[in-house]
Symmetry: C2
């Protein structure tokens, strides 16, 4: 007898789960229904800044699979349909057709919650005014691009200076906007320690972004036409024809919470290793709506990132399809590009190490991405944290030119393997002049960290 799988949310995690389940189970064994409230499926939210900047010319380039492609694989995909209630005891969901407003219940045998995240919108006066944009979905991106096309003024304010904020600031510069970035912290790229963030600030100022640090936004002011015209902080006021919110995101778990499913400290769903919602036999969750285990600190975190969402979906689909796969956790790897600067991190920042109660040493080294004599060798700064007593690697941050960013993967694998910095000094990394100095910068940092551990152990 055929079972029915319902998936709530048709982006990375949801559609990966549905697709993988379909690969493993035919339509005669498993009916798959996906509810998606937006207009798009399986899109790359991470690509939105490049679409806004014009580096990616077509919105559809960001779509890995269209609804039609999914349907051709026997997935019953219901677009513009929002699930408004989960009845866990009854094994059913209530969905609303956003065009007609009609609602109906659908039973499930198995349920996947992949409701994603929503941009944080602080309860400021004016936050909902026309001209204020989040950039979480393709619908958001489309709305922003339409605003940019309509607006005559060329002044943009980006609120927040995390990855999205920084990437959006660059995108708007490329579109000839005068960009002010208003940031609560001391340095942009708050996912780095401030000493490394300072390197990013220099690069951003170099491309003409005005950065306002330590600023608390109190109001988004609107003009007589009701549209945004300024961002107001405690100390000043910044004229704005368009405002982009890059403050971060929050797990979209209202539905799950109402249904009584378990949420963690960050508001995300809690799951087991196989991405099954804790305490539930037939409900899985993945992507930006769940919390993940940080393998370095041992605590749960919320990290909204497409690459995790895709892995979750794959694992959920395998589980539903009768296999067994697990998501052991993350080490907190992220990489980004700001002009010609590559910015990356993995593991713990100092703040996170302190919060986890760890004693640590830090070292910072400067080297080059290629052999110093090879054309195009670019400066590269590496910061490394190691546990004081054991020498275990705790984290790495990298800021540098071409070839710097993806070197963070070396540390990501080393963190996963719980290597010490001493073990890292012996790593057999790829060396040739177009790729690295004879001592890879990560090895230079590891060597210096060994000395720091020995001295302060």
């Amino acid at each position: 007898m055929s079972e029915r799988l319902i998936v709530i949310g048709g982006d990375a995690a949801g559609m990966s789960a549905a697709s993988q389940a379909r690969r493993l189970k035919g339509a005669d064994e498993l009916e798959i229904v996906v509810f998606e409230r937006g207009h798009f499926t399986s899109f790359s939210a991470c690509g939105i800044p490049y679409w806004v900047s014009g580096d990616v010319s077509e919105r559809d380039d960001l779509i890995a699979r269209t609804p039609e492609e999914h349907r051709s694989r026997a997935i019953d995909l219901r677009m513009r349909t929002e699930v408004v209630e989960i009845d866990v005891a009854g094994g059913r969901v209530r969905a609303r057709d956003l065009e007609s407003g009609a609602e109906s219940w659908t039973d499930y045998d198995k349920l996947v919650i992949a409701t994603g995240a929503r941009p944080i919108r602080p309860p400021l006066p004016g936050i909902d005014a026309p001209g204020v944009h989040g950039v979480q979905t393709l619908d958001d991106g489309q709305a922003l691009i339409e605003t940019l096309g309509r607006t005559e003024g060329k002044r943009a304010v980006v609120i927040g200076a995390g990855y999205i904020g920084v990437e959006m600031a660059e995108a708007l510069i490329k579109r000839d906007y005068a960009v002010t970035m208003v940031n609560r912290g001391d340095e942009p790229m708050s996912t780095l320690d401030p000493d490394m963030g300072a390197l990013v600030r220099t690069a951003m100022c170099g491309m003409g972004v005005e950065i306002v640090s330590g600023a608390e936004v109190t109001e988004i002011r609107t003009g007589p036409d009701g549209r945004v015209n300024a961002v107001v902080t405690v100390d000043a006021e910044y004229p704005a024809d368009v405002v982009v919110l890059g403050i971060g995101v929050h797990p979209e778990t209202t539905l799950a919470a109402t249904a009584g499913l378990p949420l963690g400290k960050h508001g995300g769903l809690l799951t087991d290793l196989a991405m099954r919602v804790r305490g539930q036999d037939n409900i899985w969750a993945g992507g930006d709506c769940v919390e993940v285990l940080d393998l370095v600190s041992g605590v749960e975190r919320h990290i909204a990132l497409g690459t995790h969402a895709n892995k979750h979906g794959q694992i959920i689909g395998s589980g539903i399809g009768g296999g067994y796969a697990t998501f052991p956790g993350v080490v907190g790897t992220a990489v980004s590009k700001v002009c010609d600067l590559e910015v990356a991190r993995t593991g713990l920042r100092e703040k996170e190490a302190r919060a986890a109660g760890l004693q640590y040493v830090t070292v910072i080294i400067e080297s080059t991405s290629r052999s110093g004599y090879y054309p195009g060798a670019a400066k590269m700064t590496v910061k490394m944290l190691a546990e004081r007593r054991t020498g275990r690697l705790l984290g790495v941050q990298i800021v540098g030119g071409e070839g710097a960013g993806k070197r963070v993967d070396i540390a990501a694998v080393a963190l996963t393997a719980r290597m010490t910095v001493e073990q890292m000094t012996a790593l057999d990394l790829g060396y040739a002049p177009p790729f690295s100095p004879v001592w890879d910068p990560v090895l230079v940092a590891a060597r210096k960290a060994v000395t720091a551990v020995q001295q302060r152990g």
Copy 2:
């Protein structure tokens, strides 16, 4: 009382050892004498192809530290002085001044052998003719560049198609030579499996290199002036105004062998983890003249690579300076650039896995170095070997565009940690559109390898 350290060979391993020992012990504690038969110290042999091509304009750019710089650190460096005998029982070496021919004995308390490697010169007729060049030392590079400057003809033959051969072929193309590469194997880049080497062949043909495969060189023919004028194989004859030998290198261990020190199967010195020559208390060896443990197969190999030599020197110097550091071994990582193509490998090729008696599965995947929609996304092919029963990663080979090559480091760290391909599928690698598709190509290969292991386990 002061001890005397003698170092034989003033390049990467020798000078790193001397410098590190000096850092740890002052001149009042340790006298350091280095004998170097050539004209240069601490140079980047790996950089020679880029000097020949003109990408690096000055020879001195390849020199990390000059003899004068070393001497200013209280290292007694004797250039153009060749050690011709080691008297282990007597604790002394006999050295010859290559200018005057004078010889003398010098006592040591501690000895470092860092005699490097020499290009393999098969005993062919004409192999020593003017116009035939190895490219192992700066002296070699200088001689080649002088030949190129003097020679009117523009036909070059490169014998051998390993890294050096391939890099030299490209360098000569950049200098407007018509280049023929004569290769005994079926595909260039013999450090890869032939199926991956074929991708390199396509790229090399694309830049105009004529590749002759499966060819056995029988003679290097000279003209009436005594200079080289052709390379002769069993089947054909290739006119040549200059010939470059890229056949590989052999450990330079004649001295050590004569002194009765232990050599391995590949002719390299055998050492312990701390790079001390086996059975000797006060003799160390490092760099291209030693064999290293392959951590994947468990057998000794000879790998001539500057990055290993530098590590060895560092470890030897630490040991002599009273510390303790070890070189656990290598996983066989190498990376190279051919035109716009990046070529990398780590771990075992199929041939090596078979030789080690391992049962394995292989997978090959094609992906892109960046998100497919991001400008500059380049094709990237990954081949992965995993042990059949255990799923342990055995090796990775990569051929692709910009950003492909250094991804081999992910696998290098995973090999060091003895990860399975299943563990690799969960790696938290850096993702953003300018750096990677949402599934990094290495993860795609790992996923496919998991399936292969499950099906054929």
